[in-house]
C-alpha cells in the first residue's frame, strides 16, 4: 500500500500552479488539495499520477467570503471551515448541518470542499449540495477561466466536466432567501461511512404552501442531481406528511439506481424513499 513513484510540485501562486498543471497534465498530472480521496486510491495504486500539483501553499485559494449575493469557497477551504455557519443566513446553517455527515473529524480537518467536488464520488455530501443548490463551479486553466453550472459539472461516477489542465478554483453558491427551509438526511452502514443514499431539500413557504422546492438525491445514481418529480410533488402543497411522502415516493420511482452485489436497485429505491422523506421531515423540525 505504497503509491507508485510521483513528482510533487509546490507552487506558491495560482498562475504558477496553472502553468505547472498545463505542463504536467498530459503526463497524468493531478491536483492535490486535502488528499483525503486521492491519496488512498494512490496507496492502492488505483491512481498513478506521475505528477501532483500540491495547492496547499497557493496564495488566495483559501478564500471564503460572500460577494454579490454569493458565497465563494476557494479550493483550499477545508470541510471543517463549515462546522460553524460561514454566513448568518439559511445557507450557512444548511452547510453546517450537512458538514457533520462528512466522514470523521480528522478527515474534515484535511479534506476540502472543492476537492470533494472535483473527485465526484456519487455519495459525496458536497456534490449533492452543489447539485441541489445549482452551485457554480469555477474552473481555471493557464490563460483561461470558465464557470460550469453544477448540473453540467457532474458527468458520472468519479467523472466531471473538468479538463485535465483545469483546476477547480472556487465553488459559488447563491445565498438562500431568508426563511428558506432545508433538511438533509443520509443513510450509511456506520457513522461516517460513505452514504448509500442521501437527500437534501430546500423550499420556501408562500401563503402556507411550499414554493421553489429543490430536492436533490445523492449516492443513489452515478451523480447527484435534483429530482424534478419530487419537487413537483411538493410545490404548491402544504408542508407535512402527505406531501413529504408523495415527494419521497416520486424520488424513489424517478431514480436510475446504482446496483452492486449487495445492493439491489429495489433496495436503493427503499433508501431514497427513506432519506427524502427524512430530509423533508428534518426541514420542519
Amino acid at each position: 500500500m505504497k503509491p507508485a513513484p510521483f513528482v510533487r510540485h509546490t507552487p506558491r501562486t495560482l498562475d504558477e500552479a496553472l502553468a505547472i498543471l498545463a505542463e504536467v497534465a498530459p503526463q497524468d498530472g493531478r491536483v492535490l488539495a486535502g488528499g483525503q480521496s486521492l491519496v488512498p486510491i494512490m496507496a492502492f495504486r488505483m491512481a498513478r499520477p506521475a505528477h501532483l500539483v500540491d495547492i496547499n501553499e497557493v496564495a488566495g485559494l483559501d478564500k471564503l467570503i460572500v460577494e454579490n449575493g454569493m458565497l465563494i469557497v476557494g479550493a483550499r477551504v477545508r470541510h471543517g471551515a463549515f462546522h460553524k455557519p460561514v454566513e448568518p443566513g439559511p445557507l450557512g446553517a444548511l452547510l453546517a448541518s450537512v458538514v457533520h455527515n462528512i466522514a470523521h473529524y480528522p478527515i474534515r480537518m484535511r479534506g476540502t470542499m472543492c476537492g470533494s467536488l472535483a473527485h465526484a464520488d456519487p455519495s459525496s455530501e458536497w456534490c449533492l449540495t452543489a447539485a441541489t443548490l445549482d452551485a457554480e463551479l469555477v474552473a481555471r486553466r493557464k490563460g483561461g477561466e470558465r464557470i460550469i453550472p453544477a448540473r453540467d459539472f457532474f458527468e458520472g461516477l468519479m467523472s466531471t466536466a473538468l479538463k485535465e489542465d483545469e483546476l477547480l478554483a472556487e465553488a459559488r453558491y447563491m445565498l438562500l432567501p431568508a426563511g428558506t427551509k432545508f433538511g438533509f438526511n443520509e443513510f450509511s452502514r456506520r457513522a461516517g461511512d460513505f452514504a448509500m443514499s442521501a437527500a437534501l431539500a430546500t423550499y420556501r413557504i408562500v401563503d402556507g404552501r411550499i414554493a421553489d422546492a429543490r430536492v436533490g438525491v445523492g449516492g443513489a445514481e452515478a451523480s447527484p442531481r435534483r429530482i424534478p418529480e419530487a419537487e413537483a410533488a411538493l410545490n404548491g402543497q402544504m408542508p407535512g406528511d402527505a406531501a413529504f411522502r408523495a415527494a419521497a415516493e416520486a424520488a424513489s420511482a424517478a431514480i436510475d439506481p446504482l446496483e452492486d452485489i449487495q445492493t439491489t436497485g429495489e433496495y436503493r429505491r427503499d433508501l431514497v424513499r427513506a432519506v427524502v422523506r427524512r430530509a423533508l421531515e428534518a426541514s420542519v423540525k
Partner: protein, 779 residues
C-alpha cells in the same frame, strides 16, 4: 490465597489495578515488529485470480525476486490430524505452479525499501491460465478438486450419533428446524501481520521477530520446514497489536522471511498492509449449520440433530488443521442444554478462498447463534417465552457429562440467566416495545445463554487427534539478589493484560508489590517452551503454573526466614516486602533474604540450595465459564438498519484476578460480536474476486455502533482450577451475535419474517421484509 498476605492487610488478586503494560503502549513507546530496521524489504506478488495454473512469472531485469523454483528444499506447511477422515493437504510457501485463492503468494520482490519492493512487485509479469473457482462450500462435490488428496474437496468429515437417538427422535412432540448461515469474517487485528528475520554471522543463528500468538510453536514449525536445529532459530514476539486467533496459525510469509535471512545471510522484513490482511490473512466462520431440534410438549429438547458445513478455504492451517471449526462445532453444538440424544455430521471442505483459521470463539459464535435461534424459534412454535424455554433446558446438575462426552464442571447457567432477566426488566421492555410499534418503531429483545470451554489442557486437545497436542504451560520464577522478580512464561499474551494479572498472583504469594515483578514472554531464548495465548487459556493455565511456582518460591522465602529469624515456618508471615514473625516486631526484608540466598549461602549449611528460581507447570482438564447475554435493538423497518441500543451481560468466570481487565475482555468480545452480527462480511463474487478488501468495505464496528454495555459478575470460585478462576477471553464474542440476532428477530416478529443469516445487513433485512410484503400482496 488471601492467607498469603496475612498481616499485610493487602491482597492484589481481585483488585482493578492499572495494567503494568500500558504506560509504554499509550505513550507510543511500544515495540512492534515493523519498528525494526532491515537491509531488505519484501513485497509479495499475490495471485489476482482464485484458481489457475501459473504459465509465466517474469521479474523485471536485474530485480531480486524469489519464486517457488528457489524454494526446492523448503517443505510445504502440512498439519496433521489422525481422526475424522482427515486428508492431509500441503500449502507451499510460494505457489508451486497452481494458485488456489485470490491473494496467494506467487513471488517475493525484495528491495532496500518497502516502496521500491512494491514497485518491483508491480512490475513482475505473471500469466495465469484461469480455471473455474469453487467459492461456496455447497458446490464442493460438483467442482474440480483443489487438491489431488481430496477428489471431492472434503478435507475432514466427522459423524456422531448417540445410541438411542432414533428412538428419542420418533417420540418427539415437535421437530423444529433452523437453517443458519454465517458469512465469512476476518479477525482484523489492529496490527496486521509482520515479520523480520536477521542472520547473526557470529553464531549462524537466525532471529525471527514476528507478530504471533505462539512464538515457540513458530520456532518448531519453521525449524522443521527449513530442516534446521531449533536452537539455531530464535523467535521473538514483541508487542503484538491484537491477534484474536489470526496470529495463532503459521503464515507461509513468515517461513519465507526466515528462509531469506538464512539463505542470504542478511536481514529481511515484511509488513502486511490492510488490503493483504483482508484478502490473504486468515478468514473464519464461513459456515452453514442446519439444526433439527426434537422437543417434548413442555419445550424440553430431547434430541438434537446437526449438519455442519464449514468452508475451510484453500489450505489447512497449522497447527490446529482446518478441522478446528467443524470439529469444535460438532463437539459443542448442544451448548449448555441438557440434551441426551445427539447426532451430527460435520464437514470441512476446501474452496478457492483464503484459508480459514481460528478467530476468537472459533466455531462457537456460529453454533451459539444457530442453537439460540433454534431455542427462540421453538419457544415461538411451542408458545413458551424465550426465557422459560431456557430455564427448562439449562443444565443444573454438576458434573454433567454431555452427549458428546464433555464433562461440564460446576457453573451457573440458570443463575446468570436470572441475573440478566432481573436487570432487563422484561415487562417494562415489552410495554415500551408495544407502545413504539404504534409509532412505526420496532424494538427487539434477544437472549443468549451459553457456555465457554476454557483453560483446557492436553487431554482435551488429545481428543481431537492432532499431531500436535497443546495443553500445558510452564513458567520459571526467579527472585534476583535485589529482591525483584522475573517471571518467564511460555505463553504469549498480546493485549490480555497478563503482565499485570500474573504479577498480582505472584505478589500475593511473595508478599511484595506487583510492580516489583516483571513478566517475560514472547522470546524463545528467554522463556520456557509454551503453547501461546489462544482458547481462553493463558490466565488459567499459565496463571496456574505461576501459582505453583510462586508457592514454591514462597516456601523457600519462608525457609530462609526461619533460618535468619530463628522462628518456626508456621510463624512466618510474608507481606509488605518483609518476612515477619507473627505477633512480634521481628522482621527481615524479603530483599535481604534474596541477597542471602545468593551471597550468604554458607550460612544455610547446605540445607537450602543456592539461588531463588522455581519452576511450575500446569495441565488442567478444563473448565466451562458461562454467561447470559441480552441485546436490545431497534430495527429501522424502512432501511433495514439495526441499532443496538443496550447490551447486558451476566457472566461467571470464577475468581476474577483483575476486574478491570476482565471487563475489558468482555467489552471487546461483545463489540466484535456485534460486528459479527450486523456489519462484518468478507464477500467474494462468483469469480473468486474479493470485494471487501478495504476497511471501507469490510466494516468493523466503531464506537458509534457499540451501545452502553452493562456487566454483572457472579464470581463462583471453581474447584476445577488451582486459581479458582475460569477463562473468559472469548465469551464476549461467543454470546453476543446470538443475542443480537434473537433481538433482531424479536423486532421483526410482527412482520412474520426471520433472519437466520449473519451479518444481518440492512439489505438482507429489507429483502426479507419485501419478500414477505410481496407474498402478502400476491395472496
Amino acid at each position: 490465597m488471601s492467607a498469603a498476605t496475612k498481616g499485610s492487610g493487602t491482597t492484589w488478586v481481585g483488585r482493578a489495578i492499572r495494567r503494568l503494560e500500558d504506560p509504554a503502549l499509550v505513550t507510543g513507546r511500544g515495540r512492534f515488529t515493523a519498528d525494526l530496521p532491515a537491509a531488505h524489504w519484501v513485497r509479495f506478488v499475490r495471485s489476482p485470480v482464485a484458481a489457475g495454473t501459473i504459465k509465466k512469472i517474469k521479474p523485471p531485469d536485474g530485480a531480486f525476486v524469489v519464486t517457488a523454483a528457489e524454494l526446492a528444499g523448503v517443505k510445504p506447511i502440512k498439519p496433521m490430524l489422525y481422526k475424522f477422515n482427515y486428508r492431509p493437504i500441503g500449502q507451499p510457501i510460494l505457489a508451486d505452479g497452481v494458485v488456489r485463492f485470490t491473494g496467494e503468494c506467487i513471488a517475493a520482490a525484495i528491495a532496500a525499501s518497502e516502496e521500491e519492493a512494491e514497485d518491483i512487485a508491480d512490475a513482475v509479469e505473471v500469466e495465469i491460465d484461469e480455471t473455474a473457482p469453487l467459492i461456496d462450500a455447497r458446490d464442493a462435490a460438483s467442482s474440480a478438486a483443489l487438491h489431488p488428496e481430496a477428489p471431492d474437496n472434503v478435507i475432514v468429515n466427522a459423524q456422531v450419533k448417540t445410541p438411542e437417538f432414533d428412538t428419542a427422535w420418533r417420540n418427539a412432540h415437535r421437530i423444529v428446524r433452523l437453517e443458519a448461515r454465517s458469512r465469512r469474517q476476518n479477525a482484523t487485528p489492529m496490527e496486521p501481520r509482520a515479520a523480520h528475520a536477521a542472520y547473526d554471522p557470529a553464531t549462524g543463528r537466525i532471529t525471527l521477530t514476528c507478530t504471533t500468538q505462539m512464538p515457540h510453536l513458530t520456532r518448531t514449525a519453521i525449524a522443521d520446514l527449513l530442516d534446521m536445529p531449533e536452537s539455531d532459530l530464535r523467535v521473538i514476539a514483541p508487542d503484538v497489536g491484537g491477534g484474536f486467533g489470526q496470529k495463532m496459525s503459521l503464515p507461509p510469509e513468515y517461513v519465507l522471511i526466515a528462509w531469506l535471512a538464512r539463505e542470504h545471510r542478511s536481514s529481511f522484513a515484511w509488513t502486511e498492509d490492510r488490503r493483504e490482511n483482508l484478502i490473504a490473512s486468515y478468514h473464519s466462520r464461513d459456515q452453514y449449520i442446519a439444526l433439527d431440534g426434537a422437543f417434548d410438549a413442555d419445550g424440553k429438547l430431547i434430541a438434537l440433530s446437526a449438519d455442519v458445513l464449514a468452508n475451510i478455504g484453500a489450505y489447512s492451517c497449522f497447527p490446529t488443521t482446518c478441522g478446528v471449526e467443524p470439529l469444535m462445532a460438532m463437539a459443542e453444538i448442544p451448548g449448555p442444554y441438557d440434551v441426551r440424544h445427539y447426532a451430527c455430521t460435520a464437514r470441512g471442505v476446501a474452496t478457492n478462498t483464503c484459508p480459514m483459521a481460528p478467530y476468537r470463539g472459533v466455531s462457537r459464535p456460529v453454533i451459539t447463534f444457530a442453537l439460540e435461534r433454534l431455542m427462540d424459534k421453538a419457544a415461538v412454535e411451542l408458545g413458551i417465552n424465550p426465557i422459560d424455554i431456557r430455564r427448562r433446558n439449562l443444565i443444573d446438575q454438576f458434573p454433567y457429562t454431555s452427549a458428546m462426552g464433555l464433562v461440564f464442571d460446576e457453573a451457573t447457567y440458570k443463575e446468570t440467566l436470572e441475573l440478566a432477566v432481573k436487570h432487563v426488566d422484561v415487562p417494562a421492555f415489552r410495554a415500551r416495545q408495544q407502545a413504539l410499534r404504534k409509532q412505526g418503531r420496532y424494538l427487539g429483545l434477544g437472549f443468549c445463554t451459553f457456555s465457554e470451554r476454557t483453560g483446557y489442557g492436553s487431554p482435551a486437545f488429545a481428543a481431537r487427534g492432532m499431531a500436535i497436542t497443546p495443553g500445558w504451560e510452564m513458567v520459571e520464577l526467579t527472585m534476583d539478589p535485589s529482591g525483584f522478580v522475573e517471571l518467564r512464561i511460555g505463553t504469549s499474551p498480546h493485549g490480555q493484560g497478563l503482565r499485570t494479572t500474573l504479577a498480582q498472583i505472584v505478589a500475593d504469594q511473595l508478599g511484595i508489590e506487583p510492580q516489583r515483578i516483571k513478566v517475560i514472554h514472547g522470546d524463545t531464548d528467554r522463556s520456557p517452551y509454551g503453547w501461546g495465548t489462544f482458547a481462553s487459556r493463558s490466565l488459567v493455565i499459565s496463571g496456574g503454573a505461576t501459582l505453583i511456582a510462586a508457592q514454591k518460591l514462597r516456601a523457600k522465602i519462608i525457609k530462609l526466614a526461619t533460618h535468619m529469624l530463628e522462628a518456626a515456618p508456621e510463624d512466618i508471615v510474608l507481606g509488605d516486602s518483609a518476612a515477619t514473625v507473627a505477633g512480634t516486631d521481628r522482621s527481615i526484608a524479603i530483599a535481604a533474604l534474596a541477597r542471602d540466598a545468593y551471597h550468604q549461602t554458607h550460612r544455610f549449611k547446605g540445607e537450602i540450595e543456592p539461588g531463588m528460581t522455581e519452576a511450575g507447570h500446569y495441565d488442567p482438564p478444563g473448565t466451562f465459564s458461562n454467561a447470559c447475554h441480552v441485546a436490545m435493538v431497534e430495527v429501522d423497518i424502512e432501511t433495514g438498519q439495526v441499532k443496538v441500543e443496550k447490551f447486558i451481560a451476566a457472566e461467571d468466570c470464577g475468581r476474577i484476578i483483575n476486574p478491570m481487565i476482565a471487563d475489558g475482555q468482555v467489552h471487546g468480545g461483545i463489540a466484535q460480536g456485534i460486528g459479527n452480527a450486523i456489519l462484518e462480511e468478507i464477500l467474494y463474487d462468483e469469480n473468486g474476486t474479493i470485494l471487501s478488501s478495504t476497511l471501507a468495505d469490510f466494516l468493523p464496528p466503531t464506537a458509534h455502533e457499540i451501545p452502553p454495555i452493562e456487566l454483572h459478575h457472579l464470581e463462583t470460585h471453581t474447584t476445577a482450577t488451582n486459581l479458582q478462576a475460569k477463562g473468559l477471553g472469548e465469551g464476549g464474542a461467543i454470546g453476543s451475535p446470538a443475542a443480537v440476532m434473537n433481538a433482531i428477530n424479536d423486532a421483526l416478529s410482527p412482520f412474520g419474517v426471520a433472519i437466520d443469516e449473519m451479518p444481518a445487513t440492512p439489505q438482507r433485512i429489507r429483502a426479507a421484509l419485501r419478500a414477505r410484503q410481496q407474498t402478502e400482496t400476491a395472496a
